[in-house]
């Protein structure tokens, strides 16, 4: 092949600019400016300027408790620094003031709320109880985890007669009313406040756990998500939980949600403490709560702020095939009764340690046939490739997800290793639900600059970003994930965030008309947001 030859250095520079242009996907190309409005270009410049300044001033400063801060660093360590930045203000306060919007496509309902609030909900319920496998002492408090359950009223007396979790006479595995457990918490161990800390610690991930003691996906994730269930799967809390989840999402300018709900066990615990509330009633409550919210927003003239929330029916990745078949039937029945609520079907769980999708592939093909017979359409929206493995089962799940016709892919972290699969995702418009902070806390990547997101972006693969388990990671809303993406690249700017936000609506399962409306409303708000950035920061530019 002939070497590159240049007439002169100007020619070299022209060729260089052309090659950069060919290397990037349209939305990231310098000449994309041609389709950007003047005001967007200006806003993008402003944000880049602030980002560069803060990389030096805020991320370049010395902090006594953080050894080597940098933009895009480990989230659990760098979170306090993020909160100091103007860029984060733009993504939160500015977006709120100008009511921007986007969709949240990948989030697990039972890990959405912050543990503090969840504990508050628990303390409000006399039916809610807690137990431990051995009496809590200052020696075992860091390794002993609480278990929660709402008990029938008849059992409360019994529970009331027992002593607290830290009492000498505590009999392992006996239930104690959660409020009593808090009130009686040994004062020498810190009393009630220490109880709160113990529960909150158990329901979240600390930087030490994520970055030192655990340090792999499976170990970190596994130990947390399922522990939420005892608290959440109790109708009075379920109702409050969904209400708060939707409210706080709307507060962070999320206008539409597709939330994964694990439909196990078969029954939730009802108000009376009996575990007899079937899945259809879970959905009824979900529906009621979102209707209340919509009505409230409508009264405030804010109906555009919330298009709605739908559910991706989720089974767990360690169940036997016949149990999965049961879920198919359950899901089809729910879809028939609540066609507006069921958005899709998924099988979730830490891929590195659980059976691969190929194990369920034959059953999932039958699910298609069953849907045809039942005259329903439930798209697969499968987790796949949430791993840094190469050719491992978790990585190979991407082949099955795509061959099974998954309409989007949850995570797809290892997709970058597969040139042919990337081509298919691009051609078929299979969106990747990227969860940057989750990927970093659960350790497929060690920091955002090492994250493969720019590879997918440059290749023009449809992407949206999501928060995954914000209750556990502390990345409630979408602003934190946007922040991490924005500051970890010199290519990514405001216009890339625009693509990510637009994709989140465009690749949602919303019906054609709803989607059109949502996109139009999003477009209007985006223009206000961009204008707002320019108005706010260009005048005060000398302050940047």
């Amino acid at each position: 092949m002939a070497p590159f030859v240049y007439k002169d250095f100007e020619h070299y520079k022209d060729e260089r600019a052309a090659l950069i242009n060919r290397d990037r996907s349209p939305s990231l190309r310098p000449d994309f400016a041609q389709v950007l409005s003047e005001i967007e270009t200006k806003a993008d410049e402003v944000v880049r300027k602030i980002r560069t300044a803060e990389a030096a001033s805020i991320w370049g400063a010395k902090y006594s408790d953080i050894v080597h801060p940098f933009p895009g660093m480990e989230f659990l360590t760098g979170r306090s620094i993020i909160l100091k930045t103007k860029i984060f203000d733009i993504l939160t306060k500015a977006r709120a003031a100008m009511s921007s919007a986007c969709a949240l496509l990948h989030v697990h309902l039972d890990a959405t709320l912050n543990p503090k609030l969840l504990l508050e909900f628990g303390l409000e319920e006399p039916a809610m109880h807690v137990c431990v496998s051995e009496r809590l002492t200052s020696a075992n408090i860091f390794t002993t985890l609480p278990e929660f359950r709402a008990l029938p009223k008849d059992d409360w007396v019994l529970a009331n007669s027992t002593c607290g979790l830290t009492d000498k006479d505590y009999v392992p595995n006996t239930w104690v009313q959660i409020r009593k457990a808090r009130d009686t918490f040994d004062t020498s161990m810190g009393g009630p406040e220490c109880f709160d800390q113990w529960v909150e610690r158990a329901l979240s991930i600390s930087s030490t756990e994520a970055y030192r003691t655990h340090n792999t996906v499976a170990k970190v994730e596994y130990f947390s998500t399922l522990k939420f269930q005892g608290l959440v799967l109790f109708t009075p809390i379920w109702r409050k939980y969904i209400r708060e989840f939707l409210r706080s999402s709307v507060e962070d300018q999320i206008s539409y949600i597709e939330v994964r709900v694990v439909f196990a066990p078969e029954y939730m615990v009802g108000e009376d403490g009996a575990q007899d509330v079937p899945h259809r009633e879970w959905l009824l409550i979900f529906d009621q709560v979102q209707k209340e919210l919509k009505a409230k927003l409508e009264r405030q003239g804010r109906e555009d702020d919330f298009v709605g929330a739908r559910i991706i029916y989720t089974a767990l990745r360690f169940i036997p095939i016949d149990e999965l078949e049961w879920h198919f039937q359950d899901c089809i029945a729910l879809k028939k009764e609540f066609p507006h609520l069921i958005a899709g079907f998924d099988i979730a769980g830490p891929e590195d340690n659980l059976p691969p999708l190929s194990h369920y592939a034959e059953a999932l093909l039958r699910f298609r046939e069953q849907q045809k017979e039942a005259l329903v359409d439930i798209p697969l929206i499968l987790h796949a490739g949430e791993t840094c493995g190469d050719g491992t089962f978790a990585d190979m799940n991407l082949f099955d997800a795509i061959l099974l016709g998954s309409e989007r892919i949850g995570h797809g972290f290892s997709l970058v290793k597969h040139p042919k699969l990337m081509e298919i995702c691009k051609e078929r418009g299979i969106l990747i639900e990227m969860c940057p902070i989750s990927n970093e806390v659960l350790r497929p990547t060690a920091s955002m600059p090492m994250h493969p997101l720019p590879i997918l972006m440059n290749n023009g693969i449809p992407l949206a970003i999501s928060s995954d388990d914000p209750g556990i990671f502390g990345n409630t809303g979408l602003s934190f994930d946007m922040y991490q993406v924005l500051v970890s690249s010199e290519v990514t700017g405001l216009t890339a965030l625009r693509e990510l936000a637009r994709n989140s609506l465009k690749y949602s399962t919303l019906e054609r008309e709803d989607k059109k409306r949502a996109l139009e409303s999003w477009e209007r708000r985006w223009e206000i947001f961009v204008q707002g950035i320019v108005d706010t920061f260009v005048d005060a530019n000398h302050a940047v």
Copy 2:
């Protein structure tokens, strides 16, 4: 686009196998078995079996000093575990016994030898002196670094009359004979052995430095490489140093080397302590030493073990343009005198913090013209993209390296972000000199499973692996880097290592005939190696 449709589950499985095949580059494809010999396929299976077994037995075991071991983990932490494995034995002892071969294409001469040996060389030379910027005490020994220099004989007496580095009367920045500094090292601080440890620590990177206190390319690398110079750039040590480097490389089955030598300063210190030895004499010594080694190997009937060593003339990336122009002339003059020794030209230094290639691009284009006039051909073999940055100067260096016609690319870590550049590398046969352990210790990646190497492999980009700064990292030879690549993937097997080894010769700058001979000899040895693995491990298969 039509969804994937299948007649039955068999059909699904066929489509799946076909898609996997299309996704991988030929050398990694399951059907590549057709071009593998029966014995290669067997050896590959054996190695995979041992790898799987050791992932559980050796990497799954508990170690008191290593929190969460896994295959491909941080090298400086996991090195002691690697030494326990049969896979490492195969890559070292078995390769040695069967005299396998490959080329080392990316290594910096002044960081190749282990610090212990380098210190020994220093202690043998009465001219070699050391100084520190303040008297060494147990309080500052971890932060104070030694500086070395060989002095003219006239200055020795003066040096001898001074006191040691730890003496109360030590005057900052005065030279002390290195042997005297060792002998007089304060016994309350550990005496001579502690002196050795202090020097060795200064000349290498500890796991704490790499993974905690520094944690970025620039900070880690910068503080080490240049400190070797005072010891190495003294002709008696230079001679021993090159001799030992070539000897130990041949011991680790490296049959051909292209080593980067920084030609700064203009003169080396000669035997008499005067800094007056010009670059042509550096090369004369290099040539003599390798001729001696070749003669010795020939006498032993091992002439195939060492094809030779050539030099990539390297300038530093922080010099002004006019100084670079001086290097061009110097390099052309050396190429004319030693056409067999000068293999190429490079500009090196931590890319994240130094001027980008674009700064030197116009000059490098002129270098082409100068070569034409001088009737020499010195290929550019440039460092580029040794970063996890996205669109940063270091990342953008890849565009310039390619447009300037670099024949190979040193590192190319961030190449995976650039679809068009990958295409060009594939079409034009631009090999990427990947340095896995270096990338992990210097932190563009946090562990091998996160390394982008599989992306480049699946895309069929020509690759070879190299050790970069083995003296600093402790990855002497190529076996450690091969190990990390082999155990971090389920796709990569012995046959992928074959491709990496073959590439290292195929993409070297060896002349056509020499290359042909080297490849033929490599092929013969490979067959012996593969047969040896089967002979050794298939019989003892029950022991695997």
